[in-house]
């Protein structure tokens, strides 16, 4: 059997899953162009203790720059 390329051998494999990217408890306000907290109406990004992008890429591995389509 042909051996895999070392880059593929070393790649991490994980279940893809369907990740809901919606910030919890928010809806997108198209007129403003930002997510709002449904309960308060405040912009998600201006809400203290929001669930962030806490890490680079917010844990979604699509390459550094969201080059996915």
């Amino acid at each position: 059997m042909e051996q895999q390329h070392p880059l593929l051998q070393r790649a991490q494999r994980y279940p893809r899953g369907d990740v809901d990217l919606t910030p919890p408890g928010c809806r997108y306000d198209e007129a403003v162009g930002a997510w709002r907290v449904i309960q308060t109406g405040a912009l998600w990004v201006e809400t203290p203790n929001r669930e962030g992008p806490r890490t680079k890429k917010n844990d979604i591995e699509t390459g550094e720059d969201q080059k996915g389509q």
Binding site: A11, Q12, E30, P53, K56, G68, Q69
Partner: protein, 321 residues
Amino acid sequence: MTVTPEAEQPNVLLLAGRYDLTCDYVVANLRRRSVPYLRLNTEDFANSAVELDPVHRRLVIERDGRSYCVTPQTLRSVLFRRPVFLRDYGDDHRSPSERFSCLQWAAFVRNLMLFSEARWINDPAATYRAEHKAVQLSVAAQIGFTVPQTRITNAPHPHSLGDGSAQIAIKGLDTVLLRAGGDEMFGFTTFESSEKLEPKHWRTAPATIQAALTNKLDVRVTVIEDRVFAASITTNGNPVVEDWRQHKRDVDFHSFDLPPDIAQRCRVLVNSLGLRFGGIDLAMCNGKFYFLEINPTGEWAWLVDAAGLPIDEALAHALSR
């Protein structure tokens, strides 16, 4: 489409995706500055009526009872956060209709490059060139950065980097991201003894091998025109031995004071690549800064919260000038 007198004329276009939360940071800052902007998400285009006149360079959009008119006279800047490369990840479950729509809208966004007088952050054509690792390393070396010994090859051998590199870093030449059934595969930078390199296994694709920097401190630098922000990346107060992205839940980011000459070199690098924004990965090793890579559309929002770097304000400032 007719442009009504009530049509809004945004000064800033934000080309993003609906789930691109980083763009929300920019929106909030533009609102505080009362700068007229319009965020266009590719997945939302179908909810709007859109018309681009390439000769008179006019973009008209109608959605939710509001109309917008974009012209070179009123448009100051564009934040481009959409893909330059459309990658084939394999195992695409989308229907032909969905793929068709996605590809055509992606092309539409790129065609907005006709607004060439606007300040693009970043210009897609410059981004395309700057995404290539060999170009980055070459330009970085030319402007005086120290760059680790690097080879891009499908035939590596124990002495590819000379006799001095016992440990090598192995990376994809491009993002290694594949889908296989219900799984996803992602390639991080890994470290290996050069003695274990077996050339025959590499022939099917080129890869990047680099002299490994051991005992390094990772430093993430974000450049926006003349502004430079830097953050160190550590785990429990110590440098991360390998690719810090593998430990991203356990790493800390702290504001970091770059030496002025290194900060200036970062500015020059971004400018030399025709960019206004860049996320640069440096490694400090034995007091010396090494250039690893630059990400022309790199992420930064996590650093606003984690390291207290006001990158969002700087970006909004650059867009609203």
